[in-house]
Symmetry: C2
């Protein structure tokens, strides 16, 4: 029986999902696996079994395979708390990682901390590793990184450090409003209207204070004017992203912005920024997560030769 050699394992462990990548000795990716065993549904003693259920067959007796993890797995309610590094700071690497308690002798698990900020109060867990990945691939980068998602982050990067950042609940507001509010009756789960999106961005940036009224007007337009559900969806997205862009203006104005996240959402941000005269460049979310975890693995190897 061939013993396929494993070098290390990367884990992106968020609230709702666990995703792992298995790497061979020359850095080649051997497998990518995932499960719905997110941090949100696990108690501390359930993390190791959840991880083993994905990677058990790749582990070998007599050697310890290192796992490097990032995300909510390091929250207070996670496997073990990896206390935040405080910004301004470099994105935490292997030297800040916390060892998780494991029973299986074939395994070591290092969890990367998130980053906190005191004024204004803010936190990230996972995005700092994507930033580390971008910096690993673009040494010396100074500028602004935006990470669109459920809780979109905007970060100022300078001299290898996260100088300051701000989180906007834009994605979560979109989910709540499109799926659970009165607006859900007139909003499709897919489809798009680019013109309605652009117009809503402009409206929200010009008059952010009327957001809660603009939202209700989506419902009223559905009732009175049979607003198409795909247009309603684009308008909702535009109002929320427009509000965020108005609030994040100090981050993007006059800057070249790096967008790290899922492609469809990043493209929306890119189009909205372009309309404001700001250039944006996309870097894949998964690719940056892996690059950040890889950088942490490589530096951990230097520490413990």
């Amino acid at each position: 029986m061939a013993d396929q050699s494993i070098s290390w394992i990367a884990a992106d462990w968020g609230t709702t999902h666990l995703r792992v990548w298995i790497f061979g000795p020359r850095g080649e990716q051997i497998a990518a696996l995932s499960s719905a065993d997110g941090m949100g549904r696990l108690s501390p003693e359930q993390f190791e079994p959840a991880l083993l259920s994905l990677i058990d067959t790749y582990l070998r007796e007599g050697r310890q395979t290192p796992v490097i993890a990032c995300g909510m797995v390091g929250a207070r309610q996670g496997w073990v708390e990896a206390p935040y590094d405080a910004a301004p700071c470099p994105p935490p690497g292997a030297n800040s990682a916390i060892l998780a308690p494991v029973d299986d002798p074939r395994l070591t698990v290092r969890i990367l901390p998130g980053v906190s900020q005191s004024k204004p109060a803010d936190v990230m867990r996972g995005e700092e590793t994507q930033i580390a990945g971008y910096l690993a691939q673009n040494p010396g980068f100074d500028g602004v990184i935006c990470l669109p998602g459920t809780h979109t982050k905007w970060a100022h990067i300078s001299a290898g450090e996260i100088v300051s950042f701000r989180t906007f609940m834009t994605g979560e507001l979109f989910s709540l409003l499109s799926e659970r509010s009165v607006l859900r009756h007139g909003i499709s789960s897919d489809g798009w209207d680019g013109a309605a999106f652009a117009e809503a961005i402009d409206d929200a940036m010009a008059r952010p204070q009327t957001l809660a009224a603009d939202l209700f007007s989506i419902r009223a337009s559905a009732l009175l004017e049979s607003l198409p559900p795909a247009t309603a969806r684009a308008r909702l997205s535009g109002f929320l992203i427009g509000l965020e862009l108005a609030g994040a203006r100090p981050y993007w104005l006059g800057q070249h912005v790096i967008l790290i996240g899922a492609e469809t959402l990043s493209n929306l941000y890119s189009a909205a920024l372009m309309a404001q005269g700001t250039q944006a460049e996309l870097a894949g979310g998964d690719a940056m997560t892996l690059a950040g975890l890889t950088a942490a693995f490589e530096s951990s190897m230097k520490e413990t030769p």
Copy 2:
């Protein structure tokens, strides 16, 4: 067996609840009843049985007792659609009411329409009857009425007409965020912090564009600073009501505002407006609903003597 004489029945029939009041021949209130048979869970043929289950024992053979209803019961998905009157218009009265189809010969049911507006698109169903009630008790009133609730309305009233209005989804946003978003982990279901509320009002009015970031800061403050859950609740409420007040400024600036709604919520609006130098006067929500339905009943009696 004493036959207690019934004159008419008032019904406030919203999405989640049905509330009825039984009146005697001299206008005296004989009973107030309610059920969870809101419009949201009934198909058209279920409305009459839902109403009868509350009022059946008050009806008499050989005579038709009139019921006057307002609210979502007149929506397209309700008992029978009572098409909107278009603002500017007086709050719809008995002459605009729609007769609902009934099988029981002891009953007539009139449903009052809501009011629509085309630019910006907006609708109300129920609040117009509260406005009618206020106007019935304050003939000749000109000014601004605010009706705080799930979907707060601001209305300009002049010469007996609803001239224009605007709906803010403030109450629904508060429910979604406090009960279903990531903020729910650090927010109590009761308790209050008046200073935090006032500060959040000021913050949101000064910087409405950072709402989605200010919301997340509630979560971050819970994680980093152990923000008390009652303070988190007041801060969330303040951010959302402050955003609304910033957007509704053309309504209240330099005005004396009439607040029609539940007492606790109306008191919050009153305090927030007072801090902006605007006087507000409370009129009870139920009292105004009943006054509006009573005015509609009385005018229907004049029409059909």
